[in-house]
C-alpha cells in the first residue's frame, strides 16, 4: 500500500491540472516500509518531452540527481514517481511499462479529464530485473496528516 498525505495527494493532482493538456511529472520522496512505500514529500519536476508533452513525459537525469541529493539531505529515499494522463485513463500504458526501471517504486498516474483531475491510481513496479518486471495495482492510503514512518514504526 502507498501512503501519502492529503496535502501531497492534492498537490500532485493539482500539478496535472496546471500542466493540462500536457503531462506533468514529479518524484515521491519517503521511506519504504514492510507495508509499502510511505511518501513524506513530493517534488515537482519538469517534463522535458516538449516535442509531445501531451502524451509523453521524461524527467531529466540532472534533475533526478538534484532530487536524489535533496532526498539524502532529508534522510529520505526516492520511493516513486507521478505523472498525469491528459484525457486518458489512469492506467499504465505500454510506454509507461517499457520506460519503468525503478523496481520497488510506486508509479502514480492521474487522469486529467478536460483539465480536471479525476481518477488517481498507483502501480508498484515489482520484480527483480528488466526481464521479469511487472506493474501491480497498489492501493493508495491518503492520510489526513503528514506521513511519519518513524512514528508508525514506534506504534507497531
Amino acid at each position: 500500500m502507498l501512503k501519502l498525505s492529503r496535502e501531497d495527494y492534492e498537490s500532485l493532482r493539482a500539478h496535472g491540472e496546471e500542466t493540462y493538456p500536457h503531462e506533468c511529472c514529479g518524484v515521491l520522496l519517503g521511506k519504504s516500509g514492510v507495508d509499502g512505500n510511505h511518501v513524506h514529500k513530493i517534488v515537482r519536476a519538469g517534463n522535458t518531452r516538449t516535442d509531445r508533452a501531451h502524451d509523453r513525459y521524461n524527467i531529466a537525469p540532472e534533475e533526478l540527481i538534484r532530487v536524489q541529493r535533496q532526498a539524502r539531505g532529508l534522510g529520505l529515499d526516492i520511493v516513486g514517481f507521478y505523472h498525469s494522463h491528459p484525457d486518458h485513463p489512469a492506467q499504465w500504458s505500454q510506454t509507461d511499462f517499457e520506460e519503468a526501471h525503478w523496481v520497488g517504486c510506486s508509479y502514480i498516474i492521474t487522469k486529467i479529464d478536460k483539465g480536471k483531475a479525476t481518477v488517481t491510481n498507483s502501480f508498484l513496479l515489482s520484480g527483480t530485473s528488466e526481464e521479469d518486471k511487472k506493474f501491480l495495482d497498489e492501493p493508495v492510503d491518503v492520510l489526513a496528516g503528514q506521513v511519519d514512518s518513524a512514528k508508525e514504526k514506534a506504534q507497531v
Binding site: R56, H88, W102
Partner: protein, 91 residues
C-alpha cells in the same frame, strides 16, 4: 571515490545508498563496483557488456556518455559517481 546507488539497486549493495570504491578513472571505479557487488552487473550492463540504455551514470554533474574521454575520464577521491535510471513514460 563515492558511488551513489539508486533505490532499486540497493538490494545488491547490502542496502547501502553510497559505496566507496577505488579507481583511477570512471571505468575502473565501475569495474570495482561490479566486482565488489557482482549482482549489480546484470542490472547495469547488457549481455554484451554495454551500459544499458536506460542507465545514466554521472560523474559529479556530467553524464559520462558525453565526457570527452568517457569511461577513461580520470577521477579523484573527492569525485562522486551517481547511477540514475531514467524516468519516462506517457499514455
Amino acid at each position: 571515490m563515492k558511488i551513489h546507488i539508486p533505490t532499486p539497486l540497493r538490494q545488491y549493495t547490502g542496502g547501502q545508498q553510497t559505496v566507496t570504491v577505488d579507481g583511477a578513472n570512471v571505468g575502473e571505479a565501475l569495474q570495482h563496483l561490479t566486482t565488489n557487488y557482482a549482482e549489480l552487473r546484470n542490472h547495469l550492463y547488457t549481455g554484451e557488456g554495454k551500459l544499458r540504455s536506460f542507465v545514466n551514470i554521472y560523474l559529479n554533474d556530467d553524464d559520462i556518455r558525453y565526457l570527452p574521454e568517457k569511461e577513461a575520464t580520470k577521477t579523484g577521491d573527492s569525485d562522486e559517481l551517481t547511477i540514475i535510471p531514467s524516468i519516462a513514460g506517457g499514455n
